[in-house]
Assembly symmetry: C2
Homo-oligomer: 358 residues x 2
C-alpha cells in the first residue's frame, strides 16, 4: 500500500531528531504530488518549526493539490512556541492528509483532523498506528500519564546476576552492548542510578561510544553520601547532574555540590526508600519524558516492585556466575512480555514490555 | 553449488531416523545419474541396512556410472552387523562419491575413501562439513571421547531461577517449550535427573507431547530414596528406568525395584556426590551416546562445575521470580558461547556451547 510506504518515510525522517525534540514528539512529513515527492521535512529541535512547516518550506514546486503524509496529527492549538500547522495546510490548499497517530495532547486529539475535514481536506488516519506509537512511546506516555516512560536496563549473566559480589564492579557484557547503552542514553531524556552504583562504579553516565547529546544524569542519594570527587559531580556539563536527596541533609555538602552548578532536589522520604512515583512526577514537571534506569539492584527492585516501568531491556552475557548479586530482589513473581530479541555481539538483547493481563 | 544441494538432501533423509539408529550415526544417501536422482535411502534403525545400501536397492535404473552423495564416509570394516559399503559401491560401478564428513570410527577414518580412490572412483569430501558434524554431534562425541554428548536443559525465569522455593514444583515455561522438551527426549538416548526432582515433580520423563520413542530414564539416587510409588518406578517400559545408587544400600529395596524390571547400577561414591565422569563412562559402555540432563539445581551445578557438558539449552520464561532457587550454584564464573536463539511461544530458547578459549 502506497500510504504505508510514505508514512514509513515519515517515521525515518522523524527519527533523525531522536534525543533533540523532547518534550515534543518525533515528527516527519512528506508531500506527494502526482506520484512524486515534492517536499519533506522533520521537527529538528524543541522550539523550532514543525515537520509540516519544513516540508512545505522545502517543497520544490507549488504544494497546492498535494497529499501531506505525517506520522502525527497536525497541531491546531496556539498554547505553544510555534504557530499551529492546520491553518497553514488549509492556506496552502493541501488536498489530502494521511497520518499514523492522533496527537494525544488534549488541545489537539482529533481537533486537528476535524478542522481539516471541515475545510474540505480528505483525511486518512491510523496508517501503521502501532509503529507510530512505538516511535513516540516517550511522548504518548508523558502526555497521557504525566509521567516519564521508564525503561529498566540491566546487564546480567544467564543466571540473572549483575555482579560477582556485593560492592564489586563486574563487567559482564561486551563492547557492542556498551555502544548500545550509550546510544540509548543519547535518546532518553535522563538516566537514573542509585548512590551505590556511583560509589562502586564511579560512572560518567554520558555519551561517549555513540553520537548524540548527553542525557540528564539523576542520582537517588538519600543521605547525600556520594564522594565529592565522583565523576558525576565533576562533569563538563554540571547542570545535567540532578541529585534527589532528603530534606534534612548536611547543608554544607549541599552547598558545595550546588555551587558546582549541580541541581539538588530535596524531597520528603519517610524511611530508607524514596517515594519513586513522586520522584517521577517531579521529573515530569521538569520535562523529563523518558528515563533509563541503569541500576543497581536496589533501584531495579523498587521500580519493578512498584510497577513503575514501561520496558525492561536485558543485556545478557554468555556467562554463568553462580554466586553473585541478583538484579531483582522482588518478593512476588512478575510476569512480563517479550517484545524483541536479538544478538549484540556475543551477548543478547531482550526487550520486555508490561504484561497487562493473563 | 550442486554438490551442496544433494548433501543437504542426505542430511534431511538422515534426520528421518533421529532417535532410532544410536549408537550408529544418522546417514542419508542420494544417487545421481545424468543430473537425475535415481535412488535415495537412509539408515533407518540400528542393525539394519546402511543408507548406501538402501539407495542402491531403491534405484529406479542401473546405478553404474552414477554419483553417490552421502553425509558420512562409506564404511569399509567388517566388525559389525552388516557387510561394508565400500565393496558394494565398487561392485556397482559407482563413478563418483561425494561426502560431508569422514567417519571418526578408527576402523574407517579415511580408509573407506582410500579404498574408493584405489578402485578408481572420484572422491570429494568436506562438503558442508560443519553441518554434517552438527547433525551427528552425538555420534562424533561418542566415538571420539567414548562419552555421551551431554546437554543441560534448564527452564528458568529471566533472573535465573528454576523454582519459587526449595522443594516446590514451579511451572515456568509454556506448552511450546514442553513440546520441544518432549521432542528432545525422543532424540536423546537418555535423560537424567536427580532424586530430588523425582520427589518434587514426580515426572514420567517419557515422550507424550511429541512423536517418537521414549528415552532411557536415568536417576541419580545415592540413598535409593525415591518413593516406590513414583511414576518413574511404575512405567509401562520399566527396562528404560535406570537408577544409579551407592553400593551399600538396603538390599530389600534394591530387590523390590529390580523385580519390577528396573536396572540398578551400584557404584562407589566417596561422599555425597557421585563421580559423574564415571557414571558417564558406564552410560557409554551401555551404548548411551547422548544424555539430556533435566535437573535439578544440584545436578546442573555438578555437571557445569566439572565441565561435563557439551551444550546448555536455556528455556527462559518472561517472568522475574526475585526470590527462588538458582539453577547453577557454581563457585566460579563460567563462560559459554551462544549458538542459537529463537522464540518458543512466549518463552525463548537459547542454545549455548562450550567456550574453548577466550
Amino acid at each position: 500500500m502506497n500510504d504505508e510506504y510514505f508514512v514509513k518515510k515519515c517515521f525515518s525522517l522523524a527519527r533523525k531528531a531522536q534525543g533533540n525534540v523532547s518534550p515534543n514528539p518525533l515528527v516527519g512529513a512528506v508531500l506527494l504530488k502526482n506520484g512524486k515527492v515534492i517536499g519533506q521535512g522533520w521537527h529538528k529541535k524543541y522550539g523550532r518549526e514543525h515537520a509540516e512547516v519544513n516540508a512545505i518550506k522545502n517543497a520544490t514546486e507549488d504544494v497546492a493539490g498535494s497529499t501531506l503524509y505525517c506520522n502525527l496529527e497536525p497541531c491546531c492549538h496556539t498554547k505553544k512556541q510555534t504557530p499551529p500547522c492546520v491553518p497553514l495546510l488549509i492556506q496552502n490548499k493541501i488536498k489530502r492528509v494521511v497520518i499514523s497517530n492522533l496527537d494525544p495532547n488534549k488541545d489537539v486529539d482529533g481537533k486537528g483532523l476535524q478542522q481539516l475535514i471541515e475545510a474540505g481536506i480528505e483525511v486518512i488516519s491510523g496508517i501503521l498506528e502501532d509503529d507510530g506509537k512505538e516511535l513516540n512511546k516517550f511522548y504518548f506516555k508523558f502526555v497521557q500519564d504525566k509521567l516519564p516512560f521508564v525503561t529498566l536496563k540491566i546487564a546480567q549473566s544467564i543466571d540473572g546476576k549483575i555482579s560477582e559480589a556485593k560492592n564489586k564492579q563486574t563487567w559482564l557484557t561486551g563492547k557492542e552492548a556498551i555502544k548500545y547503552v550509550h546510544k540509548l542514553r543519547s535518546e532518553y531524556d535522563a538516566v537514573l542510578v542509585g548512590a551505590n552504583t556511583i560509589k562502586i562504579d564511579n560512572p560518567q553516565l554520558n555519551v561517549r561510544e555513540a553520537k548524540g547529546r548527553n542525557p540528564i544524569r539523576i542520582i537517588i542519594d538519600g543521605r547525600l553520601s556520594i564522594p565529592l570527587q565522583s565523576q558525576i559531580l565533576n562533569p563538563i556539563d554540571p547542570e545535567k547532574t540532578w541529585i534527589f536527596t532528603k530534606r534534612d541533609i548536611d547543608e554544607k555538602k549541599v552547598k558545595r555540590i550546588a555551587d558546582r552548578g549541580i541541581k539538588i532536589f530535596s524531597v520528603n522520604s519517610k524511611q530508607n526508600h524514596f517515594n519513586l512515583k513522586k520522584i517521577l512526577r517531579v521529573l515530569a514537571d521538569n520535562k523529563i519524558t523518558s528515563l533509563l534506569v541503569e541500576g543497581g539492584a536496589d533501584i531495579f527492585t523498587q521500580f519493578l516492585q512498584k510497577d513503575l516501568f514501561d520496558e525492561i531491556i536485558v543485556l545478557q552475557a554468555p556467562k554463568i556466575l553462580g554466586r553473585g548479586i541478583n538484579g531483582f530482589n522482588i518478593h512476588r513473581l512478575k510476569k512480563i512480555l517479550l517484545l524483541k530479541m536479538d544478538n549484540l555481539g556475543k551477548d543478547i538483547r531482550l526487550v520486555y514490555g508490561r504484561k497487562l493481563s493473563d
